[in-house]
Protein backbone atom coordinates (compact mmCIF):
# COMPACT_ATOMS: atom_id res chain seq x y z
CA UNK A 1 0.00 0.00 0.00
CA UNK A 2 2.81 2.37 1.03
CA UNK A 3 4.71 1.52 -2.12
CA UNK A 4 1.64 2.25 -4.33
CA UNK A 5 1.15 5.71 -2.68
CA UNK A 6 4.81 6.43 -3.20
CA UNK A 7 4.54 5.63 -6.92
CA UNK A 8 1.43 7.89 -7.29
CA UNK A 9 3.20 10.74 -5.49
CA UNK A 10 6.24 10.23 -7.63
CA UNK A 11 4.28 10.37 -10.92
CA UNK A 12 2.31 13.47 -9.80
CA UNK A 13 5.53 15.25 -8.82
CA UNK A 14 7.15 14.22 -12.09
CA UNK A 15 4.20 15.47 -14.18
CA UNK A 16 4.04 18.75 -12.22
CA UNK A 17 7.75 19.40 -12.65
CA UNK A 18 7.54 18.60 -16.37
CA UNK A 19 4.55 20.94 -16.62
CA UNK A 20 6.58 23.72 -15.01
CA UNK A 21 9.42 23.13 -17.44
CA UNK A 22 6.92 23.15 -20.28
CA UNK A 23 5.54 26.50 -19.05
CA UNK A 24 9.09 27.88 -18.92
CA UNK A 25 9.79 26.64 -22.44
CA UNK A 26 6.51 28.03 -23.86
CA UNK A 27 6.99 31.38 -22.10
CA UNK A 28 10.59 31.56 -23.35
CA UNK A 29 9.47 30.98 -26.93
CA UNK A 30 6.67 33.56 -26.52
CA UNK A 31 9.01 36.20 -25.09
CA UNK A 32 11.62 35.60 -27.81
CA UNK A 33 8.92 35.71 -30.51
CA UNK A 34 7.36 38.87 -29.03
CA UNK A 35 10.79 40.49 -28.73
CA UNK A 36 11.57 39.63 -32.35
CA UNK A 37 8.25 41.13 -33.53
CA UNK A 38 8.77 44.30 -31.50
CA UNK A 39 12.36 44.61 -32.74
CA UNK A 40 11.19 44.11 -36.36
CA UNK A 41 8.53 46.81 -35.92
CA UNK A 42 11.04 49.20 -34.33
CA UNK A 43 13.53 48.57 -37.12
CA UNK A 44 10.93 49.07 -39.83
CA UNK A 45 9.68 52.28 -38.21
CA UNK A 46 13.26 53.49 -37.82
CA UNK A 47 13.97 52.88 -41.51
CA UNK A 48 10.76 54.63 -42.58
CA UNK A 49 11.49 57.50 -40.23
CA UNK A 50 15.05 57.72 -41.57
CA UNK A 51 13.95 57.76 -45.21
CA UNK A 52 11.28 60.41 -44.62
CA UNK A 53 13.43 62.58 -42.38
CA UNK A 54 16.61 62.37 -44.44
CA UNK A 55 14.89 63.02 -47.77
CA UNK A 56 13.07 66.12 -46.47
CA UNK A 57 16.02 67.41 -44.40
CA UNK A 58 18.40 66.90 -47.31
CA UNK A 59 16.31 68.94 -49.72
CA UNK A 60 15.56 71.61 -47.06
CA UNK A 61 19.27 72.05 -46.32
CA UNK A 62 20.21 72.14 -50.00
CA UNK A 63 17.62 74.84 -50.64
CA UNK A 64 18.48 76.84 -47.51
CA UNK A 65 22.18 76.99 -48.41
CA UNK A 66 21.37 78.09 -51.97
CA UNK A 67 18.60 80.56 -51.14
CA UNK A 68 19.99 83.38 -53.31
CA UNK A 69 18.37 85.45 -56.01
CA UNK A 70 17.96 83.51 -59.27
CA UNK A 71 19.79 80.56 -57.81
CA UNK A 72 16.88 78.17 -57.41
CA UNK A 73 14.33 76.99 -59.92
CA UNK A 74 11.97 74.09 -60.51
CA UNK A 75 11.93 72.50 -63.93
CA UNK A 76 10.24 69.45 -65.45
CA UNK A 77 12.48 66.45 -65.98
CA UNK A 78 11.05 63.33 -67.68
CA UNK A 79 7.53 64.02 -66.43
CA UNK A 80 8.42 64.97 -62.85
CA UNK A 81 9.66 68.16 -61.26
CA UNK A 82 13.28 68.61 -60.30
CA UNK A 83 14.97 71.26 -58.17
CA UNK A 84 17.82 73.02 -59.94
CA UNK A 85 20.46 74.95 -58.02
CA UNK A 86 22.48 77.30 -60.20
CA UNK A 87 26.03 78.00 -59.07
CA UNK A 88 29.08 79.69 -60.49
CA UNK A 89 32.72 78.76 -59.93
CA UNK A 90 35.63 80.50 -61.69
CA UNK A 91 33.26 82.23 -64.11
CA UNK A 92 31.85 78.85 -65.17
CA UNK A 93 28.20 78.07 -64.55
CA UNK A 94 27.15 74.77 -63.02
CA UNK A 95 23.88 73.21 -61.99
CA UNK A 96 22.90 70.76 -59.28
CA UNK A 97 19.80 68.78 -60.20
CA UNK A 98 17.82 67.04 -57.47
CA UNK A 99 15.16 64.65 -58.75
CA UNK A 100 13.28 61.44 -58.06
CA UNK A 101 14.09 58.40 -60.16
CA UNK A 102 13.66 54.64 -59.74
CA UNK A 103 12.72 54.61 -56.03
CA UNK A 104 15.35 57.07 -54.85
CA UNK A 105 16.28 60.75 -54.71
CA UNK A 106 19.22 61.52 -56.98
CA UNK A 107 21.61 64.45 -57.21
CA UNK A 108 23.45 65.38 -60.40
CA UNK A 109 26.13 68.06 -60.57
CA UNK A 110 26.76 69.15 -64.14
CA UNK A 111 27.67 72.01 -66.49
CA UNK A 112 24.83 74.42 -67.16
CA UNK A 113 22.30 72.99 -69.64
CA UNK A 114 24.36 69.93 -70.50
CA UNK A 115 22.27 66.82 -71.06
CA UNK A 116 22.46 63.73 -68.86
CA UNK A 117 20.60 60.48 -68.23
CA UNK A 118 18.62 60.10 -65.02
CA UNK A 119 20.74 57.14 -63.89
CA UNK A 120 23.92 59.27 -64.18
CA UNK A 121 23.12 61.01 -60.89
CA UNK A 122 24.25 60.03 -57.44
CA UNK A 123 21.70 58.19 -55.32
CA UNK A 124 21.15 60.15 -52.07
CA UNK A 125 18.40 58.30 -50.22
CA UNK A 126 15.77 55.73 -51.09
CA UNK A 127 12.10 56.69 -51.05
CA UNK A 128 8.98 55.09 -52.49
CA UNK A 129 7.88 58.41 -53.96
CA UNK A 130 9.08 62.00 -53.91
CA UNK A 131 7.23 64.98 -55.37
CA UNK A 132 8.35 68.58 -55.80
CA UNK A 133 5.74 71.32 -56.30
CA UNK A 134 5.90 75.09 -56.60
CA UNK A 135 2.91 76.49 -54.68
CA UNK A 136 3.77 80.11 -55.41
CA UNK A 137 6.83 82.23 -56.15
CA UNK A 138 8.37 81.89 -52.72
CA UNK A 139 6.78 78.66 -51.47
CA UNK A 140 7.68 75.08 -52.44
CA UNK A 141 6.08 71.84 -51.29
CA UNK A 142 7.91 68.52 -50.99
CA UNK A 143 6.14 65.22 -50.42
CA UNK A 144 8.00 62.05 -49.46
CA UNK A 145 6.42 58.60 -49.21
CA UNK A 146 8.10 55.63 -47.61
CA UNK A 147 6.32 52.35 -46.81
CA UNK A 148 2.90 54.01 -47.14
CA UNK A 149 3.88 56.78 -44.69
CA UNK A 150 3.58 60.27 -46.14
CA UNK A 151 5.51 63.32 -44.96
CA UNK A 152 5.14 66.81 -46.39
CA UNK A 153 7.34 69.83 -46.01
CA UNK A 154 6.74 73.39 -47.18
CA UNK A 155 9.70 75.69 -47.67
CA UNK A 156 9.55 79.42 -48.17
CA UNK A 157 12.38 81.20 -49.93
CA UNK A 158 13.72 84.50 -48.64
CA UNK A 159 15.39 85.44 -51.91
CA UNK A 160 12.26 85.48 -54.12
Amino acid sequence: MYKRNNINQFSFQFIFIMLLYLIIAVLSVMIISLGKNIYDNINEDRNTNYELRVSLSYIANKIRQSDKKESLEIRGLHGANAVIINEGYDEEKYQTWIYFYDGAIYEMFTDEDSSFELYDGMKVVEADFFKIEEIKDNLYKFTAVSKEEIAELYLSLYSN
Binding site: N41, A151, S156
Partner: protein, 165 residues
Protein backbone atom coordinates in the same frame (compact mmCIF):
# COMPACT_ATOMS: atom_id res chain seq x y z
CA UNK B 1 8.75 -0.68 -13.23
CA UNK B 2 10.49 -1.14 -16.51
CA UNK B 3 10.21 2.50 -17.60
CA UNK B 4 10.99 4.04 -14.27
CA UNK B 5 12.50 7.50 -14.49
CA UNK B 6 14.82 8.44 -11.72
CA UNK B 7 14.38 11.95 -10.36
CA UNK B 8 17.11 13.84 -8.62
CA UNK B 9 15.52 14.40 -5.26
CA UNK B 10 18.11 17.03 -4.33
CA UNK B 11 16.09 19.64 -6.33
CA UNK B 12 12.91 20.20 -4.35
CA UNK B 13 9.60 21.27 -5.84
CA UNK B 14 9.82 24.63 -4.02
CA UNK B 15 13.14 25.38 -5.65
CA UNK B 16 11.64 24.71 -9.07
CA UNK B 17 8.58 26.89 -8.31
CA UNK B 18 10.93 29.64 -7.11
CA UNK B 19 12.97 29.40 -10.31
CA UNK B 20 9.76 29.65 -12.35
CA UNK B 21 8.75 32.75 -10.38
CA UNK B 22 12.19 34.32 -10.95
CA UNK B 23 11.86 33.49 -14.63
CA UNK B 24 8.36 35.03 -14.72
CA UNK B 25 9.65 38.21 -13.02
CA UNK B 26 12.54 38.45 -15.49
CA UNK B 27 10.07 37.88 -18.35
CA UNK B 28 7.82 40.70 -17.14
CA UNK B 29 10.82 43.06 -16.90
CA UNK B 30 11.87 42.08 -20.43
CA UNK B 31 8.37 42.62 -21.80
CA UNK B 32 8.26 46.00 -20.07
CA UNK B 33 11.57 46.92 -21.72
CA UNK B 34 10.22 45.85 -25.12
CA UNK B 35 7.10 47.96 -24.58
CA UNK B 36 9.19 51.00 -23.51
CA UNK B 37 11.39 50.56 -26.61
CA UNK B 38 8.30 50.34 -28.84
CA UNK B 39 6.68 53.48 -27.44
CA UNK B 40 9.99 55.36 -27.48
CA UNK B 41 10.20 54.56 -31.20
CA UNK B 42 6.59 55.72 -31.71
CA UNK B 43 7.48 58.95 -29.87
CA UNK B 44 10.53 59.44 -32.14
CA UNK B 45 8.32 58.97 -35.23
CA UNK B 46 5.77 61.41 -33.81
CA UNK B 47 8.55 63.96 -33.27
CA UNK B 48 9.64 63.67 -36.92
CA UNK B 49 6.10 64.03 -38.28
CA UNK B 50 5.15 66.81 -35.83
CA UNK B 51 8.39 68.62 -36.69
CA UNK B 52 7.58 68.49 -40.42
CA UNK B 53 3.99 69.71 -39.87
CA UNK B 54 5.04 72.57 -37.58
CA UNK B 55 7.92 73.60 -39.82
CA UNK B 56 5.62 73.54 -42.86
CA UNK B 57 2.99 75.74 -41.21
CA UNK B 58 5.70 78.15 -40.08
CA UNK B 59 7.11 78.29 -43.59
CA UNK B 60 3.63 79.01 -45.00
CA UNK B 61 3.12 81.82 -42.47
CA UNK B 62 6.55 83.23 -43.27
CA UNK B 63 5.72 83.26 -46.97
CA UNK B 64 2.61 85.43 -46.41
CA UNK B 65 2.76 89.18 -46.89
CA UNK B 66 0.10 90.60 -44.57
CA UNK B 67 -1.58 89.78 -41.29
CA UNK B 68 -4.89 89.42 -43.16
CA UNK B 69 -3.39 86.65 -45.29
CA UNK B 70 -2.04 84.98 -42.18
CA UNK B 71 -5.42 85.02 -40.41
CA UNK B 72 -7.12 83.79 -43.57
CA UNK B 73 -4.69 80.84 -43.72
CA UNK B 74 -5.23 80.09 -40.02
CA UNK B 75 -9.04 80.29 -40.28
CA UNK B 76 -9.02 77.95 -43.29
CA UNK B 77 -6.68 75.36 -41.81
CA UNK B 78 -7.32 75.50 -38.07
CA UNK B 79 -10.18 75.63 -35.57
CA UNK B 80 -10.20 78.95 -33.72
CA UNK B 81 -10.70 79.14 -29.95
CA UNK B 82 -10.90 82.23 -27.79
CA UNK B 83 -8.43 81.91 -24.92
CA UNK B 84 -9.34 85.20 -23.26
CA UNK B 85 -8.20 88.83 -23.52
CA UNK B 86 -9.16 88.80 -27.19
CA UNK B 87 -6.40 86.25 -27.88
CA UNK B 88 -7.05 83.20 -29.99
CA UNK B 89 -5.51 79.75 -30.23
CA UNK B 90 -5.72 77.91 -33.53
CA UNK B 91 -5.83 74.12 -33.30
CA UNK B 92 -6.01 71.29 -35.79
CA UNK B 93 -6.44 67.66 -34.81
CA UNK B 94 -4.95 64.47 -36.19
CA UNK B 95 -5.79 60.79 -35.77
CA UNK B 96 -3.25 58.15 -34.72
CA UNK B 97 -1.87 57.96 -38.28
CA UNK B 98 -1.37 61.74 -38.41
CA UNK B 99 -4.24 62.29 -40.85
CA UNK B 100 -6.13 65.50 -40.16
CA UNK B 101 -9.31 64.44 -38.40
CA UNK B 102 -11.57 66.35 -36.01
CA UNK B 103 -13.43 63.24 -34.78
CA UNK B 104 -10.62 60.89 -33.72
CA UNK B 105 -8.39 63.30 -31.81
CA UNK B 106 -5.07 61.66 -31.00
CA UNK B 107 -2.71 64.58 -31.69
CA UNK B 108 -3.27 68.34 -31.71
CA UNK B 109 -1.18 71.08 -33.31
CA UNK B 110 -1.86 74.48 -31.74
CA UNK B 111 -0.76 77.94 -32.84
CA UNK B 112 -0.77 80.78 -30.32
CA UNK B 113 -0.17 84.28 -31.62
CA UNK B 114 0.53 87.42 -29.72
CA UNK B 115 0.73 90.75 -31.46
CA UNK B 116 3.22 93.52 -30.72
CA UNK B 117 2.12 96.80 -32.26
CA UNK B 118 5.03 98.75 -33.67
CA UNK B 119 5.20 102.08 -35.49
CA UNK B 120 5.95 100.56 -38.85
CA UNK B 121 3.87 97.39 -38.67
CA UNK B 122 2.97 94.33 -36.63
CA UNK B 123 5.43 91.98 -34.99
CA UNK B 124 3.77 88.60 -34.52
CA UNK B 125 5.15 86.26 -31.89
CA UNK B 126 4.08 82.82 -33.02
CA UNK B 127 4.25 79.68 -30.95
CA UNK B 128 3.37 76.35 -32.54
CA UNK B 129 3.26 73.18 -30.49
CA UNK B 130 2.20 69.58 -31.12
CA UNK B 131 0.70 67.59 -28.30
CA UNK B 132 -0.58 64.09 -27.79
CA UNK B 133 -4.02 63.91 -26.23
CA UNK B 134 -3.17 60.89 -24.05
CA UNK B 135 0.30 60.27 -22.59
CA UNK B 136 2.42 57.47 -24.02
CA UNK B 137 1.91 54.23 -22.12
CA UNK B 138 4.92 52.75 -20.24
CA UNK B 139 6.79 56.09 -20.46
CA UNK B 140 5.97 57.94 -17.29
CA UNK B 141 7.74 61.26 -17.39
CA UNK B 142 6.51 64.78 -16.75
CA UNK B 143 5.48 66.80 -19.80
CA UNK B 144 5.54 63.85 -22.18
CA UNK B 145 2.28 64.97 -23.80
CA UNK B 146 4.10 67.77 -25.64
CA UNK B 147 5.86 66.36 -28.69
CA UNK B 148 7.37 69.40 -30.35
CA UNK B 149 7.28 73.15 -29.93
CA UNK B 150 8.73 76.14 -31.80
CA UNK B 151 8.50 79.86 -31.11
CA UNK B 152 9.44 82.45 -33.70
CA UNK B 153 8.56 85.96 -34.88
CA UNK B 154 7.31 87.41 -38.12
CA UNK B 155 7.21 91.10 -38.89
CA UNK B 156 4.50 92.38 -41.22
CA UNK B 157 5.36 95.94 -42.33
CA UNK B 158 2.49 98.43 -42.86
CA UNK B 159 4.14 100.10 -45.82
CA UNK B 160 7.13 99.37 -48.00
CA UNK B 161 9.47 96.50 -47.32
CA UNK B 162 10.20 93.87 -49.91
CA UNK B 163 6.55 92.79 -50.01
CA UNK B 164 4.99 96.19 -49.61
CA UNK B 165 4.62 97.28 -53.21
Amino acid sequence: MKNKVSLNSRVSLWEIILSVLIFAAAGIIMLNCFAIARFTQIRANDKTIAGAIIQSDFEIIKSLNTTDEMYEFLDNSYERKNIGNNNYAYTKYFDKNWNQNSMDKEYAVTIRISDEDMKSGNLMIINISAEKEKPYPFIKKEGMEQIYSIESKKFFPDFGGIHGE
